[in-house]
Each structure stands twice: as structure tokens, then as C-alpha cells.
């Protein structure tokens, strides 16, 4: 009897794990204190995307700053301004999608990827963090990934990584809307200045990208069932 119920639970989880994790992510985002490190997570992947875009286009990263309220700054030198500006929100979406996808593919891959992300955060502390607050925030994120690596059961690591991926994706879905504050500041305004395409268009592009990524994850989760 108990075997039947556990099988039912397992099949329910397998069938609806994407939605369960999505609801969990939405709930976590609403909880005041608990949501803070996850906001930092999205902020970090946003800024690191700017930085990596700068490196890829021939520039360099001078500094990454993270703030307690989830804001961030990336100071770069050289590189292609358009690509670097666009990479912030688009990159965060890609990180969220990638983390979920890789964590879903295999438990061992999820573990290796977790180690790589931990190393990336540690490198960011060493090379790009320049102030105490940024070091503290990055240290919290590093501990977060270290805890996932230390988990005995890789199954939990996989689920946690999927949750992180969805949290980043949800943040990158909502955060471009913060640009529409009429202040003409941020990546959208920078792209609007460069291309003469209004800021709202860029916000819609980023929103659409995050939506497509979320839909892609839903489709792949459905396929696995």
C-alpha cells in the first residue's frame, strides 16, 4: 500500500516537478528576507554577463559592484558597448535557462556545473570585487553553491540547481520592467541612445527572451514526462 503511494508521489513529482519548482520560486520571491540572496543571485548573473560580454568583445572588466537591494554595477574598459549593454538581461536569462537545463540533464553534470559556478563566484571575489559589501554578497552566493556541492544526495543538488535556475529566470522576467521608470537610466536607455530604438522595445525584447526561455524549460520538462 505504502509502495503504491510512494510510486504515486514519485510519478506526481516527475509529472509536475517543473510547476512545483516554479511555484516554489514564485513563493520564495515573495518572502521578504529569504528572497534577498536570490535577488543577489540574479543581480550577480546580470553583472557577470556584462563582464563576460566585455571580455568576449575584446574589452576587460575592471570592477563588479553588488548592492544589498539587488542592484549592481559592472565597470568595463573597451569592448563593444552594444553587446555589453544587451548582455545584462539577456545573459541572466541564459544563465537561468542554462543552470536549469544542465541540472536537469544529469546529476553528475549538475554537480560539476555547481562546482564551476562556485569557482566563478570565487574568481569574481578575487578579480572584480573591490568593496566590502560586494565581497560579502559574493561570499554568501559562494556559500550557497558550496552547500549544494556538499549535499550527500545528488538528487537534491539537482533540484536545488533547478530552483536556482528558475529563480534567476523569474527575476530576469520581471527586472527589465524596472527600467520603465521614466528616468532614462540603465541598459535600456544606453541601447536606446546607441540605436535610436526606444527603451520599451529593448525591455520587451528582454521580457520576450525570458518568456521564451521559460516556455522552453516547460516544453523540455513536459517532454521528459
Amino acid at each position: 500500500m505504502s509502495n503504491i503511494s510512494s510510486e504515486q508521489t514519485s510519478s506526481f513529482w516527475q509529472k509536475y516537478h517543473f510547476f512545483i519548482l516554479l511555484i516554489a520560486a514564485v513563493v520564495i520571491k515573495q518572502v521578504p528576507l529569504v528572497s534577498i540572496p536570490f535577488n543577489w543571485l540574479e543581480s550577480y548573473f546580470h553583472e557577470i554577463s556584462h563582464g563576460l560580454a566585455a571580455i568576449v568583445t575584446g574589452g576587460s572588466v575592471l570592477r563588479i559592484q553588488l548592492f544589498a537591494n539587488g542592484a549592481g554595477l559592472c565597470t568595463t574598459q573597451g569592448g563593444m558597448g552594444f553587446v555589453i549593454s544587451f548582455a545584462g538581461y539577456a545573459g541572466a536569462t541564459l544563465w537561468g535557462w542554462g543552470i536549469y537545463k544542465l541540472a536537469s540533464s544529469h546529476q553528475r553534470i549538475a554537480q560539476i556545473f555547481s562546482v564551476l559556478l562556485f569557482l566563478l563566484i570565487v574568481s569574481s571575489i578575487i578579480f572584480w570585487g573591490r568593496d566590502l559589501l560586494t565581497w560579502f554578497i559574493l561570499a554568501v552566493l559562494a556559500v550557497l553553491f558550496l552547500l549544494t556541492i556538499k549535499l550527500k544526495k545528488l538528487h537534491y543538488l539537482q533540484r536545488l540547481m533547478q530552483l536556482f535556475g528558475l529563480l534567476i529566470l523569474l527575476n530576469s522576467l520581471s527586472s527589465p520592467s524596472y527600467l520603465l521608470d521614466g528616468r532614462n537610466l540603465g541598459d535600456g536607455a544606453a541601447l536606446a541612445t546607441m540605436t535610436f530604438i526606444p527603451e520599451i522595445v529593448w525591455v520587451l525584447i528582454w521580457f520576450s527572451l525570458a518568456l521564451v526561455a521559460l516556455y522552453s524549460l516547460y516544453k523540455s520538462a513536459k517532454k521528459h514526462n
Binding site: E47, H50, L62, A71, G72, L73, C74, T75, T76, Q77, G78, G81, I84, S85, G88, L185, G186, D187, A190
Partner: protein, 122 residues
């Protein structure tokens, strides 16, 4: 500053030389005439008095010139700007130099910005 003080010294020397020559000419005019000893003494005293008078005049002139020189020296020391003003380019030239340097600085600034230019992404 040094040049003007040297010229003032030269001018002092010139004045003393003049007094010396006038003294010599007085002595020469006396030499060919044969005069008695008593008269000679009075004449010598007179000459000496005349020489002293000439010296006093020279001293007076010397002192006057020295005062003038000191006054000139003091004015040079106290108002350094007035002397440096002579070396200063005219306001027109200054404007030209300033505008020339501004153009130079703009180019320099641009090259520095290219070298150190950073972008901040939020």
C-alpha cells in the same frame, strides 16, 4: 634687477672721476707760478679746502645717488610683478596661447579617454 643696480654704481663712479679731474686741473694751474712760502701754504690750504669742498660735493652726490639707487632697489624688490610684467606676453597673445593650449588639451584628453575610458553598466 642686477643690471639696474650695476648701472647706478657706474653712474656713481663717473661722478667721482669728474671731481678728481677738476682737482687735478687746479693743481696744474698752480705749478708754474713762483710764489712765496707763506703764500704757498695759504694757497695749499685753500686748495685743500677747495678739494674738501669738491669731495663734500662728491659725497653729497654719492649719497644722493646711493639713496636713489637704494630706493630703486627697494622698489624692484617690493614690486616684482611690475618687472615681470615686462616679460609677460600681451593679453592678445595670452588669449592666442590659451586657445592653442585648449585645442591641444582636447586632443590630449581624447587620447587619455581612449586609453583609460571606462563604461559603467547597471
Amino acid at each position: 634687477m642686477n643690471i639696474s643696480s650695476a648701472s647706478s654704481q657706474n653712474s656713481i663712479f663717473g661722478l667721482t672721476n669728474q671731481t678728481n679731474t677738476s682737482k687735478k686741473s687746479l693743481v696744474r694751474s698752480v705749478d708754474p707760478v713762483v710764489v712765496p712760502k707763506a703764500e704757498q701754504e695759504t694757497l695749499l690750504n685753500k686748495q685743500a679746502n677747495q678739494g674738501i669742498v669738491a669731495d663734500q660735493q662728491a659725497i653729497a652726490l654719492f649719497e644722493k645717488n646711493q639713496l636713489e639707487a637704494n630706493a630703486a632697489k627697494y622698489s624692484l624688490n617690493s614690486s616684482t610683478f611690475s618687472t615681470t610684467d615686462k616679460d609677460k606676453p600681451s593679453p592678445k597673445n595670452e588669449t592666442a596661447v590659451a586657445s592653442y593650449q585648449t585645442v591641444g588639451n582636447l586632443a590630449q584628453r581624447e587620447s587619455v579617454q581612449q586609453l583609460f575610458g571606462v563604461d559603467v553598466f547597471a
